[in-house]
Symmetry: C2
Subunit: 206 residues, 2 copies
């Protein structure tokens, strides 16, 4: 079994894996979901179809609070998610508005959903929630220096904002109270940031 | 801002968040994607629509190897993912076949995609990749005591199997070479398993 190295992970080594678009059809223009079906040529020359959702992209924020004892707390939300039929515990997140700058999008979503503004921001990375059937990416940001203010939820948006200690947050990731993949990815980032393994480059809010 | 506790997280506290189904229509019956649009009543009594993919569920496996020096390595895959247009580094995963037992599904997917069978398995948890527009869940399993064998890829399935050290794996999660949310969630589990923070209950394969 090969070991992947920087050398053999070059694009040249992807030729046996890549699929080539032959045609693309929009098969659903929904109120919310836009679905396409593309005919593609597989690496062996055969043709097949790929169906997928086209998504505008999104951001997620890992908002850090410091309590009176100097311990870090994290701002979370509880929101009913209809497809899974449950109230889910999540990090604040939301869709990108057109070609909106991703940091401005993160600042807007944090403010609208939780009321918080933050004096410092740091970019962590990006995640793809659903690579087999959605183009969606979620850009991941940390926020600190939080100042409370009024939330401005969208019409039809219902959620509760609360805070938890980092110990509680990680315990819930383990015991199944948190199962949202973006939030679990946020936990990976938070754990490694807090341990010092994955340092961040903080910048002041514009 | 409230602190979520076991007490106030009871279902009674969800009444201000839950949405009630009024009707459900299938709006796309694709080759692969099944999309529904449900009319729902929001907590404030207004009606709106929720569109979502109905998915059969899936499993993911975190396969652990031990190298000649006694260090843990992890089995990974490289696979072209058409919606994101990139070859992605992923943990082995696959869809549940009907009401297939989830452990048997994990064993089947590991064997089919990588050729490996494992003598010991441990259940970790579950993740939801896309809670705003898909019913999909992914059940998470660890496997160890790996025995190599022939892979049995589905027709039209092209992927490369390789192994990496755990240090490499975590470095790629940080530097953006791994952005698949299920695999990043697997990294959270692996890191906490290896540190001893999240012990597993191993069972022998049937």
């Amino acid at each position: 079994m090969p070991t992947l190295t920087t050398e053999n992970a070059s694009p040249e080594s992807d030729t046996g894996l890549r699929e080539l678009r032959q045609s693309s059809d929009k098969i659903l223009s929904g109120r919310f979901l836009q679905v396409f079906s593309d005919q593609v040529t597989l690496p062996d020359g055969k043709n097949t179809f790929r169906e997928y959702i086209v998504h505008p992209g999104a951001v997620m924020v890992i908002p850090l609070l410091t309590d009176d004892q100097g311990s870090t707390r994290i701002v979370l939300e509880r929101q009913f998610r209809y497809p899974v039929g449950e109230v889910m515990i999540e990090l604040p997140a939301g869709k990108r508005d057109g070609q909106e700058d991703l940091l401005l999008c993160a600042q807007r979503e944090l403010r609208e959903e939780t009321g918080y503004t933050a004096t410092q921001w740091a970019h962590a990375g990006v995640l793809h929630p659903c690579i087999s059937y959605s183009t969606e990416y979620i850009d991941i940001w940390f926020a600190q220096g939080l100042q409370a203010g009024p939330a401005q939820l969208d019409a039809g948006e219902f959620l509760e904002v609360f805070s938890a200690s980092t110990d509680e947050f990680f315990a819930w990731c383990r015991d199944g109270r948190i199962t949202d993949a973006k939030t679990l990815t946020g936990a990976l980032w938070l754990q490694n940031y807090l341990s010092g393994a994955w340092p961040l480059q903080w910048r002041d809010a514009a």
